[in-house]
Amino acid sequence: MNRRDYLIRKLLLSLVTVLIVVGINFLLFRVLPGDPVRAVIGRNVRISFETQAALRAQFGLDKPVFPDQFLDTLGQWGRGNLGVSWSQRRPVSEILLSKLGNTIVLIGLGQILSIVFGVILGLLAGWKRKTVIDIGALTFSLIAWAIPTFWLGIILLAAGSTWLGLPTGGIVSPDNAGKPLYEVLPDVAHHLILPTLTLTILYLGEYMLIMRSSILEVLSEDYILTAKAKGLSYWQVLWRHALKNAMLPIVTLIALNLGFTVSGAIYVETVFSYDGLGKLFQTALIKQDYPLLQGAFLLLAVSVIIANMLADILYTYLDPRVKTI
């Protein structure tokens, strides 16, 4: 299979996955008990049957569920119209967009830090195999795996706020709310420390493990032997020959981990009352705000699917072996 066919296949698979997500979203919304019209206007508002019927027609609820309502909904979602939140009475897409930036900052910081430290520590562990560094790294990743994210967050929250005086949650201190960003930047950074630390510890273990086994595999390759035989120093071998090749699995892992990253954000934002998509998702869940829940799910799922596809495409350029699969 050449690269073009491979890319087309990936594209088709992503498209099918998006359709499945949309289908699940639509279906779950339909099977919910209760009347959507009632849900929008509120339970205790009195309206005549005629108005109800008019609203029904306006929402397209008088048409058959499939295909009319489905295609209609699909069109609405495609145009970015995700309905109105029941609890906030604002368009869902507007709410989602207002939280997106905060989450991207948090996830991005956590990912970057864990990749940097994970790669360095994994490299050391693999290079110094069976030493204290290696065993320590393995033990760390094992324990990091077994700890629930939210509990790690709770512990760091309790420890950080009691002993280090770090803020317990939110994005800025209440006094600084509403001020322009550049003025409160130090305060924002202060609030980011604990959530970022939680996410970093959470992701670090896995990157470290993958890097370790990847470097072990690369070090047993013939070209490493050749490089050593040429008389290159340890660091030259490691830097020029081993690291580049060993980094490849990390790229795949970043993509595969995106779903995992999203769940990390939901837990960490909940624990630290961080005003992002994850916290929004949890609040919508508790308030049973279905349009908001659906919109958030759609946004999260579609972005993960697209990011996965992009990573697959990127991978074909990074690893020349993928050209002909």
């Binding site: 919910l32 509990w151 072990l216």
Partner: protein, 324 residues
């Protein structure tokens, strides 16, 4: 019958001989067995019921009492004994873990065997389904599934919904693993011979395929168990547990919502988390050791020449499904 029993006993004994020399495996087994023991015999280890309110001499409820004042682990915001909550909560957490793990293992093994053995459209369907499930973020999917199912008046307990949703979403890794093993077993000579003397598909699957992959399934299901327990704790923490039957995750949800952290009630929020780590760590250690001992891929066969995968290259085979 007696001969098979004898063989089984001998295999078990051999297994134990190797196993008991493995310290990691023993530690894992210890962690899991103690948790199971406490959960099963919970009433023996505590004089209270989880719903009992602990009172002081004046008859007032003891809320947020530290361990120095009451019991081994103090009381929570409602005056319930935390130790009692913990060991009764173990019942819920472990039940969900075991049942969901069992469903995932059963569905995964069944689909894996069918796909690996028969190939064709079943295999295609399985592989595409796992491709799709792999890229949909699990937690949001589970959250909206559980939230919707709870809204429908199904007259089932929230615990049952959790079991079904976790079990029916986490079979993919088992299915892929089993499929790849069945693919190699299918090509072995003894299967070809059995087929040559006229054995049917069902006979081959029952007598040749299943016994070969069973050890692998057992090892894998221990790993799935830890994932299921972690996921349950996460969903319960986000408020999807059953408040009338609190699991460890529900306890943490209560502790967080009712300001145990700002009250400094560490005895309320530390033990449930430690219990989760205790069990999931135990399962991962046990599962890894079992897999190392039982996985045919990792042990060299004397006829297969040089071994390709060095066991130290994959010392920690952590289950891939996302963790909470």
């Amino acid at each position: 019958m007696s001969e098979r029993w004898f063989l089984f006993k001998r295999n078990l004994l051999n297994f134990w001989k190797t196993f008991r020399r493995n310290r990691m495996g023993l530690l894992g087994a210890f962690l899991v067995v103690t948790a199971l023991f406490l959960a099963i015999f919970a009433p023996i280890f505590t004089p209270y019921q989880p719903t009992d309110t602990i009172r002081d001499e004046n008859g007032r409820g003891l809320t947020f009492a530290p361990p120095s004042i009451h019991g081994p682990l103090g009381t929570d915001d409602a005056g319930h004994d935390v130790w009692t909550q913990l060991i009764y909560g173990a019942r819920i957490s472990l039940t969900v873990g075991f049942m969901a793990g069992f469903i995932a293992m059963f569905v995964g093994s069944l689909l894996g065997i069918l796909a690996g053995y028969f190939g064709g459209w079943i295999e295609n369907l399985l592989m595409r389904t796992t491709d799709v499930l792999l890229v949909i973020p699990d937690l949001p999917l589970m959250l909206i599934l559980v939230a919707t199912l709870r809204q429908l008046n199904l007259h089932v307990s929230p615990i049952f919904i959790l079991i079904m949703v976790i079990g029916l979403l986490y079979w993919t890794s088992t299915a892929r693993l089993v499929r790849s093993q069945v693919l190699t077993i299918k090509e072995r000579q003894f299967v070809a011979r059995a087929r040559a003397i006229g054995a049917g598909h069902i006979h081959i699957i029952r007598r040749h395929v299943i016994p070969q992959i069973m050890p692998l399934i057992v090892a894998n299901s221990v790993l799935i168990l830890s994932t299921a327990i972690l996921i349950e704790s996460g969903l319960a923490f986000l408020g999807l547990g059953d408040p009338t039957q609190p699991s460890w995750g529900t306890m943490l949800n209560f502790a967080f919502d009712r300001n145990a952290i700002t009250n400094g009630a560490w005895w309320f929020y530390l033990p449930p988390g430690l219990a989760i780590v205790w069990v999931s760590l135990g399962c991962v250690l046990l599962g890894n050791v079992l897999e190392e001992m039982l996985n045919p891929r990792l042990t060299a066969h004397h006829l297969e020449g040089e071994q390709k995968i060095h066991p130290l290259q994959t010392p920690l085979n952590l289950p891939k499904p996302e963790k909470p």
